[in-house]
Symmetry: D2
Subunit: 356 residues, 4 copies
């Protein structure tokens, strides 16, 4: 029971603050003899890396990962893999405003209420910088899952603007700065988000993550359900306020007939006529693609002033200067993929443990 770990057989522990010397994670329980080098991890970190477009924070971090243990001659040894990422751009600056004033909607208030201590520098442990460690761990998880499992994510809603799912094109995701699968949305979103940024505001988003090739049988009733663990994993990402599997909240409005995924035999295989369930039935993977979505709220760090209070109990409007993403949901796409990968890798090992 660790506050900063998740997973059971494939277990990830992260540590570090945005303004300390480094952040990192320990990946324990990884099977031995899997190929692993920094080059297997770095591309995923690069996707999440700040400063890559006008629509993400201008903080410049190379986010270069180092493997400190658990790998020998390019192979995992079965012992803990320690990954370290140095913080290089800890710009010394004036935190004046937010050093003493809480940001409404930010964790700075509740950290202080809980721990009685205030690390005002860049969010401390609550900074989204922690998610770089998840992405690194996710890259290791992908090695566990192997080539047969493909995990991809996309932004399906930016603020009030949703994609048209009939235009979904996975190839488009890598061509625009939004991880948007609908090319027609991109110019619209660019203009919209430029406006948000200019206004000193921030905006929310919805991310969808799809895992294909997941074998049936992963997940366990009733408190080790695959969707239960996915929900926890995705909800643990900064600023996430909702999680759905398959049709999610829309399924509440459906009848059992509308929501059913009919079965039939095709070439001797059980085949599904639809995937309302998002690939999970009774908490166990069915062999269909696993589909999860999560909603990211707009960040509370923005230029627009909000009524707030200081640590010593004075009313005071707060403005967050700094370098912040107008839509933190964008960079949450690779994070969501990583969490999916870690949960699946854990359940793959757990299933193998119990059922063989």
């Amino acid at each position: 029971m660790s506050y900063n770990s998740f997973g059971h057989l494939f277990r990830v522990t992260t540590w570090g603050e945005s303004h300390g010397p480094a952040i990192g994670c320990v990946v324990d329980g990884c099977p031995p003899r899997l190929p692993l080098t920094e080059a297997d991890i770095q591309p995923f970190l690069d996707q999440r890396r700040p400063g890559q477009s006008a629509f993400t924070t201008q903080r410049k971090e190379p986010d270069a990962v180092r493997i400190l243990s658990g790998v020998f001659e390019g192979q995992t040894t079965g012992t803990p893999i320690s990954l370290l990422i140095e913080n290089t751009d800890q710009r010394s600056r004036d935190y004046g405003d937010i050093a003493q004033t809480y940001r409404p909607g930010h964790a700075d208030l509740t950290y202080d209420l809980k721990y009685g201590i205030r690390d005002y520098r860049g969010g401390g442990r609550s900074s989204a910088r922690e998610t770089a460690c998840r992405v690194a761990a996710g890259a290791v998880a992908r090695q566990v899952l192997g080539q047969g499992v493909r995990i991809r994510g996309a932004l399906v809603q930016l603020g009030p603007h949703k994609i048209d799912r009939s235009r979904w094109d996975w190839d488009e995701v890598t061509r625009n700065p939004f991880f948007c699968p609908d090319a027609a949305c991109v110019p619209e979103w660019e203009e919209y988000l430029a406006g948000i940024r200019k206004a000193g505001l921030s905006i929310g988003a919805v991310i969808e993550v799809v895992a294909e090739g997941v074998p049936p049988g992963l997940g366990a009733p009733v408190y080790g359900k695959l969707d239960s663990d996915l929900a926890a994993a995705l909800m643990s990402i900064n600023a996430v306020k909702g999680v759905e599997i398959g049709d999610g909240f829309a399924s509440a409005a459906l009848t059992g007939l509308e929501n059913a995924d009919p079965l039939s035999m095709q070439d001797g295989e059980i085949t599904f006529g639809a995937n309302h369930a998002g690939g999970i039935l009774g908490g166990i993977s069915s062999g269909q693609p696993i589909v999860a979505r999560f909603a990211v709220k707009p960040t509370s760090s923005m230029l627009a002033p909000v009524p707030s209070v200081t640590r010593d109990g004075q009313n005071k409007d707060v403005i967050t200067k700094g370098r912040h993403d107008p839509c933190v949901g964008i960079r949450a796409v690779p994070v969501g993929e990583a969490m999916m990968a870690c949960v699946l890798a854990d359940h793959l090992l757990r299933h193998r443990g119990q059922v063989g």
Copy 2:
């Protein structure tokens, strides 16, 4: 790491199938010297009990709970509390159709894919009957939380029909068979659900659970977040496909300004101008009411035929006769409350452990 346990310091393990001799749970870690008798638990079970209205299954189960251990002279001893509920109405009947044919959308397929074994009787371990144990454990959790914490749930959407939140009346919840807080909806829902039942269909629902009086500081970054644990707990309930905290998915469409809960000092206390966050910031309770919602899909057990396959690989339409709820979401209301209670009790003890 138990598949059938949840919680850490306040830890619940459930066991049992719908058609075995009994179901039950073990509640471990409960603080000593709390008052506890069967009478503290039974009323919550009675709320969830089947057969109470035309809108729930007609299976008749008294669901009488027995405390087998952990209580001495009406007080908890600090040792494990074993709760047992006998299954009395295991009607011997013809499972002919579903004994060999999978129900699309039901866990019977994935249980078989995972374990290679098929307990066709009433869903076996995947039956919603298991949730009675959650409700019993939730009653114990309420003793841990004490009188200062109030947890209530309500059905806020039945199929496509949402309540009008401006008419929310908690007293109304106990007056109708839907746990509906909007009196104006009740006749409409009665007619609608009667139609669904008559058509041999089923329908989904959305439940909201609110916890008031929760002290600030519960929950821990970053993988022991209160909302992360709530999401796992609610998603583990049968048929749940989505979970939201506070504004949930709606927050994706908001700007940071619209989503902010402004702070001000009132009588020397930090006061919130809104509760978009649902009482949780950075995974830690803020002192505001905790607000969670979850979506329940329509059950796959219905009279309407759906294309399916048999265990030996034949195409065959399936009809589920039996006694089933047309809307399983209704009886999920006390279950949702119970999961909220258990998660909060666990975090109360965890917080006390770390911070004192």
Copy 3:
């Protein structure tokens, strides 16, 4: 993190007090499709059962186990197995003396110091009766391990009297009331223990448990070591004060040369010239027999008076009447075997999970 659970993939949770209506356990994580009926469990319980010889407590408990869940048509389903044993001989009697006076060396004092509550009836949760649940769980673990793994225990020391290891005969163990492998000791032990009992005293013992046929590779560095988990499991048995693996404390006096188990190739297999290590190297099984020993102190429940204090702070000698074993170590033999079986089953699944 449950106080009353152990194991990870094969996980056992026990509950119940000696004087409540029943005791029981939940075995979670058991692989599916293993044969299991009450008849697979009962023989092990019968070995531990009280009242079988003059040298164990005269409490008469049939200790009949019931399987309440997790088994369908004689096979495990992969879901939690609930086992229940009713307490039938809860003789209503006069606890006068020990109801208010602590027994020096007994847990009654520390339970009260910890929980502030006193269940004086027969030791409550601290009663050795809890170990019946371990034995039941151990029988399930043996099904997981299969026929290839053989686990046997023996009493190797009764009070100051040690066996002569050169006379070790496993067949003898089942022929005498001490689980003693050295036939020559039996008459001597009978006379000695009769004297202890007549004097109203109690005496300690040392138990050895050996597991043969354990595959190499079980256990994991560095905090999931097989010997580390065995030590925890054996030390958790009532009254145990010491645990050894292989040569144990004797190895402290040896040189590296004396302690080495030389290796050689025999018929293409690595073969060991000795087993000082007790089958575990670096926390991982080597393929040799696993050998563990544990020391059981004399019970504090005896007729001989000991200076003590009452709950309200008066000096008072205490005498424990009741029906107690003069040597609780004897009935600890099947308990030790069961703990070995549970630890090995857990590690078998964990190893399979990580390494495949």
Copy 4:
């Protein structure tokens, strides 16, 4: 369930190999606002550091610890504390002999049997170098326990030579290179160990750790017993083959009367007339000093040749050149103290969590 973590509320995860760039650990769950700097940790590492006398390995490692996270302005923040120790003396050398030949009694064989991979350099993850991380974590644990709890360890047996307990002097422990509390033994041990080293041999030892000032009530029945967790923690230290609490194995030979720790009221306090129990009754601390002992076997790394086999299945005697401790038990003293500190800190928080 992490193979490389221990503890629950105070949880330590270690990583790293002896010949990688660094080793380290993550301490999670530490209460906030405790004073902590590198200077609180370094002195304990210095006690364990190699190269300090003729009787420990001549490997020169400064073992300088860095705090990478979880501390802000000299205080713990409640978030994970990452500690890092660089490996500086990874002397490039000829591993010829042990690169391909197993050392009888060493983990190199079982690692290979388990993982199918062989990191021959200095023992890899099985190296005692890992224990530096335990010592660092133990220093943090001491801050949690506070000044009122005093934890000290000593070597009570070197090979066949035991101390005379009547001459026990804690001050002497820091004056000799053996952590020996009996000054009269020191010259004798010096001569004896010099002989062992000269003969290219190694020798075992027994360490005793005593914790004074531990409040009553720590530990929980029945699988969270304080002695059960201590046994696991001490048994997890490299080369440990036995663990005792209080009188340990000697208690097996005692009658209940001889083993009883009589109680009496002194100045309104319950007072113990002896401490055979080693401060733990029924798995819960009694308020008396906690006394634990553990046996360390002689290391298998020595100059004396032992019959062995190569990785490719040839018989071959093996000699371990390298720089090894003739008695690894000596440097296990601060490690044993650290494990005691970590277990107590965890139980302190767990007790506070459940009981308040």
